[in-house]
Structure formats: structure tokens, C-alpha cells
Symmetry: C2
Subunit: 333 residues, 2 copies
């Protein structure tokens, strides 16, 4: 790969920081690095390959001569600047929700649908972290036996809502341990020692934004526009890695060993599934790992062709930053 | 009600302590109180109505002249002593799993199936806490529209595995905050900042004991032996109150307002469901409460007659102790 001029928008955020870590780990050929952030964070310094770089304020002019811009600063920043970055000639890899469901913007997980990368108009969308891990587990089963239905309940980590959310969760724990009143601003209610069945604002049909995203993005990623997907999004009191309880039905019968084989062969997926040893995917083990872990694979006891899975992944890595860097690598190769 | 001779087996455990608290709160007419526990806890003193009572060691002779014995010491103690207590003339209300699925033992939640109380042979089983709250939310919908399918994923609290489990979870939190290694003996893995998709040992079909119990007990409670119920049991890092993400399909169509009406009229159930105000049931609000809280009521967007619910309750109160005391009240009235 040729060394490129890379910009990271939201360089001080959780996903932005993870992008920089992954670029380093994978030896991504960064020639020039431009770090951008909102005015609040502009001026701070960020380390990359042992060099300290000043974070500049996000502006329309910031993308001149940028080859690839990874947007990791939330939907508002992407709405405001991604098109201009693309018009300035940069390839935009957008980790936010801004363009994920736009009909002319590819939504890509390279292990699932690399072909959509050929049809972009300057912007490529990275799915929500929960979608990515769900779709990576589902794609090989869909290819083999055609999914007929998906019902998913999630167990999401605070970091899915950004670094302020992690800080708030951390503060809640400290306040509770010190008998101080608990405050919630980022989350709608106390997350510590609680379960919050809400991700984002509610829409008119009683679902919340993250539930709508998980259903719609999964259908788009799997190119299955009519697939019945049902989602309940729940935040649980931990900082890193999303877990999900997934129920599926397939049109053609898959045995549990077949499911295990298909998932073991699937790129980016690792099967951890040995009940006798009490082995299954765990959030604490997924932290910092690239793979999506699948276990608790079992046949439903009352519905023909019904199957259950437990799917866990680091929401900041494969769920966001790693997926973006993999797309950059794919297009540069 | 006439004052009775009541025995509490497992008087020093989480459920036993909750039983005593609820007897006090409700002014249950206790004439004589016999407190029993395993040899480890025998000899300790427990407060009831401002009197301190010595806990005696569980033995076959302990049930002479006892009218009602609430067993809250786990399946082993119930297997070993419940039949003898019944033979000695006590009515046994068993909070353990020992007899729940026995064909000749009634499994009862008084709001759902009080009629089974007329058919007991000295032992009445209290369902698992998760079953009770699920069944209380489902029963009115089943009565009105006949359930065709249930898929449930749980978010269970450490106290569901007893007081040693709560202590272990608490110790894990302290150890993590003090940079000490974490130990897990009661739980199969670290629960703090983690999700554990396991409740009890695994059986041959890939499900764990609590999943089997939740499916089988729900069918027994609802008198729906062929109802397809699918369960994934997950322990989440909090101490009190179980939550559940519940997907159902009904044979006859129910609108969301109809579901809300049915649940609002159901005894023991409270609807908390206002998306605009971000109001839904929360574990931290259910703690210490008697009701089963239901919210996030919404129609599935792709399956006809599909509905989603979020169901939360204090697993020690309605999930165990309160249900036992309510049965005692029902039979005494």
C-alpha cells in the first residue's frame, strides 16, 4: 500500500483513539496524519507512533489533499462535513449513523459485503457496532440456509454511547460507593447496577433509534430487505463489549454442528462454545480483541429450524474502528 | 386468619430474610415462629417483630406441630426434609426447584392459578422468580388472545443465586477497584462488568437448568403444555431485581392499547410505559416493590401478532418470598 494522507475526525473520542491504536498495530501506511475534532478538543495533543500531533479544529478546508478521512465524531459532525470532505477528494469512512441507511451510500463489513465498496460516491458507512457483530454471526448462516426470522435482545456497554457515557457510568459507580446521589445526563437513567432498555430517542412506533438501526442496518448489510428482524436494545452496567442473545429461524434446516462449522470457517468470527467446560463468549474476554465471538449455539426445543446464539464483540474495535481501518486497507490494496 | 405455627427453613438466607420482612409488613398472624437452617447457620439469632429468635438446626423432628413451613434453603434441603414436614402435618410452601415440575405438586402464583391450591398433597411449589414475573405479564394476554409463542432473554441479578452470590459479586467489584485479582466460585466466571449467559448447570440439549425451568414452569403455570417457549438466561452485574426482554405472538390480534389495558387490570402487575417521558420498568425502581412492572410495550414491525414487552420485578419479593406468603394467606383465608 502507498503511504496516504489520512484524517481522523473525532481524534480525541473513544472510536477515534481506537482508530489510531489500530492503525499503529496494523502498520497502516500513514504518510501524513491530520487529526481533527470539535472546537472543544481542538488544540489538545494526541500521540501516534510516538509522535505528538496537535488536534486541529474541524473545518471545511481541513480536508484539502486528504486521501482518506475516518469520521468518528458522531452524526452531527458527519452531516456537517462528510460531503465537503468527499467533494474535496477524500474518501470518507463514516463511523456515525449519518449515512448508514442512505440508499446511495454503501454500508460495509468487508467480511460480509466487500463488493459494495466498488459502488461508492465518496462516502462509505460503517454500521453500528451492534449491527456489525450480529451480521457477522448471521451472514454465513444466511448464505447457507436463508434466514427466515431474527429476534435479538442486546446487552450493550456504556462505551457504545461515547466517552462521556463511560465517564458518567464510572462516576455513578464512585458516587454509589461513597453514598452520594447519582446523576444521569448522558444516559436517561442511572446505568450503574441497572438495565436500561433504551438506546437513543424513541420513534413513533415505540422502538428506539438503536433498535430501528439494528433492524434496518442488518437487512441492508445482508441484502435481505424483507427479512423480519426484531430488536430490543438494552444497556447493561459495564463499560466495554456488547453481547447479544440471538434467536433465528432458517428456511433450510441447520444442525448445531453445521452452524458451528459454518461459523468456524467464517472470517472474523471465533466460536467459543463448550458447555461442559462452561465456555462461551464473555464481554471481559472480548475486550481488545478483533474477533466476533459466538457461543451457546443450540437448537430451539419447540420451533423447527429455530436456533439460539450468544454473540459478543468489542464494540469499539470490530464494532467501529477496526471495521473502518479494514475498509481503508481493502480499498488501498 | 387464625394465628399459626409457622416455620421458615433457610431463615438466614436472602429469601428467608425476605419472608420474615414480608410477614412483618403484612401482619401475618404468626403465633409460634420456628426458624430453621443448616448446621452452619444454626445457633445464630434472627429478629422478628423486635424479638430475637435462635435459629435451630434443620431436622426431621423440627416440624412437629408446625402448621405451615416455608422452605427457602435450596433444592437439597427441600429434597431432604419437605416430604417429612408434610407427613408431620405441615403445609409446605417450597421456594426451591425441588418439586416445581412434579406432576402431583401444584406450582402456584395466586394471581394466575389459585385453583391449583385446592389440589395439593402437603407440598405447594413456588416458581422460580424469573418464571413468576414472566407468567404474571403473560397470563392476562394468554387468557385474552392465546399465546402462540414466547421468546425471552433475561437480565438476572446476582441475588437470584443466593446470598453467597451477592457477596461474591460485591467482592469482585471491590477487588477490581483495588486492582486485585478477581475470584469466582459461586458464578462460573467474573460477574462484575460482565454478562454471564448461564444459570445453573448445562443439560444435554445445550440449555442450562434455569432456561429449562423457565420454559417448563411457564408452561405449567399457564396450563399451556404445548406452548413454544424459548429462553436464554443471562446474569448481569447488579444485585437485585430481574429484567426480561420478552417477545410473544398471539393467535388473536392484540393492539398495544389493548395489551396496556389488560396489564393495567391484571392483579400484581403495574404498567410503566411512556416512551415520551423515557419511562419504563427499571431494576433500581423495582427493588423492594411487590409489583411486576411491564413497559416498552410495542408491536413487532415485521411479524403479524408479534409484540414486545420489558418485564422487571424484585426477584426476592414477588419472585419468591412474597409469593409464598400470599399463598399462605390465601389458604388461611
Amino acid at each position: 500500500m502507498e503511504a496516504c494522507h489520512l484524517a481522523v475526525v473525532g481524534a480525541t473520542g473513544l472510536v477515534g483513539q481506537e482508530v489510531l491504536r489500530i492503525l499503529e498495530e496494523r502498520g497502516f501506511p500513514v504518510g501524513t496524519l491530520t487529526l481533527l475534532a470539535s472546537d472543544r478538543s481542538a488544540g489538545s495533543r494526541v500521540e501516534f507512533l510516538s509522535r505528538s500531533t496537535v488536534v486541529r479544529e474541524l473545518s471545511k478546508e481541513a480536508f484539502d489533499e486528504v486521501d482518506t478521512a475516518i469520521f468518528a465524531a458522531g452524526a452531527e459532525a458527519s452531516h456537517d462535513y462528510a460531503r465537503q470532505a468527499a467533494q474535496a477528494g477524500a474518501l470518507v469512512l463514516d463511523c456515525s449513523s449519518a449515512f448508514r441507511l442512505h440508499p446511495h451510500v454503501p454500508l460495509c463489513v468487508p467480511e460480509i459485503n466487500p463488493e459494495v465498496l466498488q459502488r461508492h460516491h465518496g462516502i462509505i458507512a460503517i454500521p453500528h457496532g451492534m449491527t456489525t457483530q450480529l451480521a457477522l454471526a448471521l451472514a454465513p448462516l444466511h448464505a447457507e440456509a436463508t434466514l427466515a426470522r431474527v429476534v435479538v435482545s442486546t446487552y450493550q456497554a456504556a462505551s457504545g454511547r461515547g466517552r462521556h457515557a463511560v465517564r458518567e457510568f464510572d462516576q455513578q459507580l464512585r458516587d454509589l460507593l461513597n453514598f452520594r446521589p447519582v446523576e444521569a445526563e448522558i444516559f436517561p437513567h442511572q446505568l450503574a447496577f441497572n438495565c436500561l432498555p433504551q438506546g437513543g430517542a424513541f420513534v413513533d412506533n415505540g422502538h428506539c433509534e438503536e433498535e430501528m438501526a439494528l433492524m434496518d442496518e442488518t437487512r441492508k448489510l445482508l441484502a435481505a430487505p424483507d427479512l423480519p428482524v426484531s430488536a430490543t436494545v438494552v444497556y447493561v452496567p459495564l463499560a466495554h463489549s456488547h453481547s447479544a442473545s440471538v434467536y433465528i429461524e432458517t428456511e433450510r434446516t441447520l444442525s448445531v454442528p453445521q452452524v458451528r462449522d459454518l461459523l468456524e470457517q467464517a472470517p472474523g468470527v471465533e466460536v467459543e462454545d463448550d458447555c461442559r467446560e462452561q465456555e462461551y463468549p464473555l464481554a471481559i474476554h472480548a475486550n481488545g480483541r478483533d474477533e466476533v465471538f459466538v457461543g451457546r449455539i443450540r437448537a430451539d426445543l419447540s420451533i423447527p429450524n429455530g436456533l439460539h446464539l450468544w454473540v459478543v464483540a468489542d464494540n469499539l474495535r470490530k464494532g467501529a474502528a477496526l471495521n473502518a481501518v479494514q475498509i481503508a486497507e481493502h480499498l488501498a490494496s
